[in-house]
């Protein structure tokens, strides 16, 4: 409406009235993606390990003939590995905030107009992009080894795994704020492997005490939901409740630490 600009009494330096980004900065997002692609470690964890694990664990010839609901067991293992890759990617992405915090980068950003929430959103967006690529690569590699499932299961499993992995981005963020930055992934990596066992991602859970405990771990609910399009079992109430509760815990925890971190003292 108003075209009148207040130039203000500035000491000589004329400044362009450029619009300062208040939300996500495209430049920043592109740079974040470039950083992920350049990071060899990230690429190994996100794009190499999951398909390799599938090739190791999921290609037994017997699996091709065993049924897993609407597909075969090969497909079951493949979907599990895709989810494992997505979870690992998302957790590492969230946890990277802690490293950047320890390096003083988030403090440096506070000397710019970028909002702390926009910083987190940028990190999450880049992480979720890589998570999508991780799932796609794993499924693409796996598709060469004869997994059987209907197209709806391919798409459904991939989508649930991808959307669900955001829960682990929140987990990574929360843990990143809590754990010492230098070795956060050294702690989270083995922790995730354990959780993946609990989610039945590597071997079926079966019955027994471990299986009973496993039902309450954050990987279990998400794994059940991810495999539902393949098994045809539908979303069980227990799995949905598991995911909702853990989402609340991780997102709430991350938000709590985030607010504490950005508060001025």
């Amino acid at each position: 409406m108003s075209t009148i600009s207040a130039p203000g009494a500035r000491g000589g330096s004329a400044r362009p009235a450029a619009s300062v980004p208040r939300g996500i900065s495209r430049t920043y997002l592109v740079l974040e993606l470039r950083r992920l692609v350049r990071n060899r470690r990230t690429l190994v964890f996100s794009l190499v390990m999951p398909p390799v694990f599938f090739l190791i664990f999921g290609t037994s010839p017997a699996y091709a003939h065993q049924s897993a609901g609407r597909g075969n067991v090969t497909a079951y293992v493949l979907v599990s590995m895709a989810l494992y890759g997505a979870i690992l990617t998302a957790t590492a992405g969230g946890a990277s905030v802690s490293v950047e915090r320890a390096q003083g980068w988030t403090r440096q950003l506070r000397l710019t107009p970028l909002r702390p929430s926009a910083y987190i959103a940028t990190k999450l967006a880049a992480t979720m992009a890589l998570s999508a690529v991780s799932i796609a690569v794993t499924l693409a590699v796996g598709s060469l080894r004869d997994p059987q499932m209907p197209l709806s299961a391919w798409v459904g499993c991939a989508l649930v795994a991808w959307v669900g992995s955001v829960v682990f981005a929140a987990f990574g963020l929360f843990m990143g704020y809590l754990l010492p930055a230098e070795n956060v992934m050294q702690i989270l990596g083995p922790g995730l492997a354990l959780l993946s066992f609990a989610g039945g991602l590597f071997i079926p859970l079966g019955d027994g005490l471990f299986a009973d405990i496993a039902r309450f771990t954050p990987t279990y609910g998400l794994a059940e939901l991810t495999r539902a399009p393949l098994t045809g079992d539908g979303f069980t109430l227990a799995a949905v409740a598991n995911v909702l509760v853990w989402t609340a815990v991780f997102a709430g925890g991350a938000a709590w630490r985030f607010r504490k971190d950005t508060a001025r003292v």
């Binding site: 300062v20 920043y28 470039r34 950083r35 390096q103 107009p113």
Partner: protein, 324 residues
Amino acid sequence: MDTTAPAPATLALELRGLHKSFGDVHAVDGLDLDVRPGEVVAFLGPNGAGKTTTIDMVLGLSDPTAGDVRVFGSTPAEAIAAGRVAAVMQTGGLLKDITVAETVALTASLFGNRGPVLPFLERAGIAELAGRRVGRCSGGQQQRLRFAMALVSEPDLLLLDEPTTGMDVEGRRDFWAAIRADAAAGRTVVFATHYLDEADAYADRIVLVAGGRVVADGSAAEIKNVASGRVLSASFATPELAHDAARDLTSSGSPAEVRGTRLIVRTSASDDVARHLLTATSAHDLEVGASSLEDAFVRLTSSGRTDDRTDDPTSPTAPTGAHR
């Protein structure tokens, strides 16, 4: 017709009764400071004097316990958002896996500036490092990168927190050459340092802080002048003779101290003291030295707070506006 002076320009920095406590520790304890546009001010003090805490409050990274901070008349947060104030911090604040040019381009984009970054790199003297990963840059190079990042918003006020810590002599000289060239264009610069020579060489004005307060404020020459003058020393045959001479001098208004057989006097009337010592006592091996800024620094800061600021009319703690 109008003979009154023009209305004073908005102060670049205005600190009023600034306090910051961490529990029982009063890091900043009633600090007042005015910095006018275009000044290059050294914030000089020993470690723990409250320099960094003060800078954090100016940048809005922390809130004062009491008191007020104004940067060009606005709050720190507003000044940051408008890009009017920028800082070169002591350590950290860099992503090691991206290049120098990427770091500056990103910072510029956050201020809505998508133009070329090379001019900023050139001004900071790191154009040839554009493609280098930050993690591969030396400490001095990283510091100049921080400087380039601080330039992207063309800030009117630039804060430097002990910017040359850990740099070698050449690195320090290059860094200051870049800062100085930039300040010549009219930028206001406030830098914290505990290097006395740095304050002496690069600042128009020195603000000495100790115990979270300003203990002296003036040009380097003024600070030296008020703090001491000259240092005389002379030897005596025995400590008793030295003590006798010291008593005489002290009672006549030139406080002297004795170390062993050597008498030491700090005085602005060095000629008179020297004449007295050589003619009326058995002093020998007399030496006269100019007091360094280091002496001034030690004397002013080790005495802690000087609550009697107005006693001495020549004190450089007199109104800051009187200088320049």
